[in-house]
């Protein structure tokens, strides 16, 4: 009688022990799940902050682009004006040069030929 009673106690003790170990294993499983979910959250946060960083960079860049446009346009205007001024200043002289050369004529015998003596 007392023997089976003792064995029963031991068996119960084993059961308890198994429960304790099982709890620990469940803890481990849960911890791994936690690792994944926490990592995911951290990653998400990181991504968000990177996205904001990039957006700030883009906004700043858009500013410089429109700046560049106005700068270039201004410079172009100045250059165009200079071109027209320069042209108007020199036009007459060049027209005269052209006209002079149109009538300038210097007839020469081709250099490979020589005069035929009668």
């Amino acid at each position: 009688m007392s023997q089976s009673h003792g064995i029963q106690t031991l068996l119960e003790a084993e059961k308890e022990a198994a429960k304790i170990v099982e709890q620990a294993r469940q803890y481990r499983v849960q911890k791994l799940k936690d690792a994944r979910s926490q990592a995911a959250k951290e990653i998400e946060d990181y991504k968000k902050s990177k996205e904001e960083e990039f957006k700030a960079f883009e906004a700043q860049h858009a500013g410089t682009t429109s700046n560049a446009q106005t700068l270039v346009d201004k410079e172009t205007e100045v250059n165009l004006k200079n071109i027209t001024e320069s042209f108007n200043k020199n036009k007459e002289q060049v027209v005269n040069k052209l006209i002079d050369r149109v009538v300038l004529v210097k007839p020469e015998l081709h250099r490979n030929l020589s005069k035929v003596e009668a």
Partner: protein, 227 residues
């Protein structure tokens, strides 16, 4: 081991000891498992996070580079457009210049003395170029007499320069809209030489472009080689 059977008290004692032992072992095993679990948790989490962070960083680096390149392209396009505008303006001015010149040459034929001299010159030049025994000299209708006169002088000058003789006929076949000058066609009608004022001006427009550019707009600061 005990040498005699144990009494009830001792049995209970041993039982409790055994129960305690079993529990103790279980607790220790559980503790080990938990500690390891914590370690693995930390490692796994750090690994996952680092992996993804690297991927994200690479992604954004690429985006950033793309944006930089796009900006450079935009800048380059602006500069190019600007240059084209400038060139366009210059071309407009050039056309204006040429049309003014074309209008001006019409006045040349009016200066009688110089015009005859000019005619003689271009006819000699034509003769020397064509080198044929006979040619037809085409002129504007209203220049026929002048050209006849000039061509006679030209024929003798031609003889002086080349020792050859040339016979010619004058035809007033060119339209009076032209500015003046002559066209020579060889006797066999195979060679044509255009020495009209219009054609000469056109040739000049083309050949003198570098010089015209320099005179109108200044030398090119980027040019490195001149013949």
């Amino acid at each position: 081991m005990a040498s005699r059977p144990l009494n009830d008290e001792e049995v209970l004692n041993e039982m409790n000891k055994m129960v305690a032992f079993i529990k103790q072992e279980a607790m220790e095993k559980a503790r080990e498992i938990r500690v390891k679990a914590d370690e693995e948790f930390a490692i796994e989490k750090a690994k996952l996070v680092k992996q993804e962070q690297q991927a994200i960083d690479a992604q954004y680096e690429k985006k950033r580079k793309g944006a930089e390149v796009a900006q450079k392209i935009a800048q380059s396009t602006l500069t190019n457009k600007s240059r084209l505008k400038l060139l366009h303006r210059r071309e407009e001015h050039l056309q204006d210049l040429f049309s003014t010149s074309r209008a001006s040459i019409l006045a040349l034929a009016k200066d009688g003395g110089r015009y005859v001299q000019f005619l003689e010159g271009v006819i000699v030049q034509g003769f020397l170029q064509v080198m044929e025994p006979s040619v037809t000299v085409h002129s504007r209708k209203r220049d026929v007499e002048l050209v006849q006169q000039a061509a006679n002088g030209a024929a003798s000058t031609y003889n002086e320069l080349s020792g050859r003789n040339i016979s010619f006929e004058v035809e007033g076949s060119l339209s009076d809209d032209g500015a003046g000058g002559v066209k020579l066609i060889s006797g066999s009608r195979r060679i044509m030489l255009d020495n009209t004022l219009d054609e000469r001006l056109r040739l000049l427009e083309d050949r003198m472009l570098p010089e015209i550019r320099k005179d109108l707009f200044g030398a090119n600061p980027n040019r490195k080689f001149y013949t």
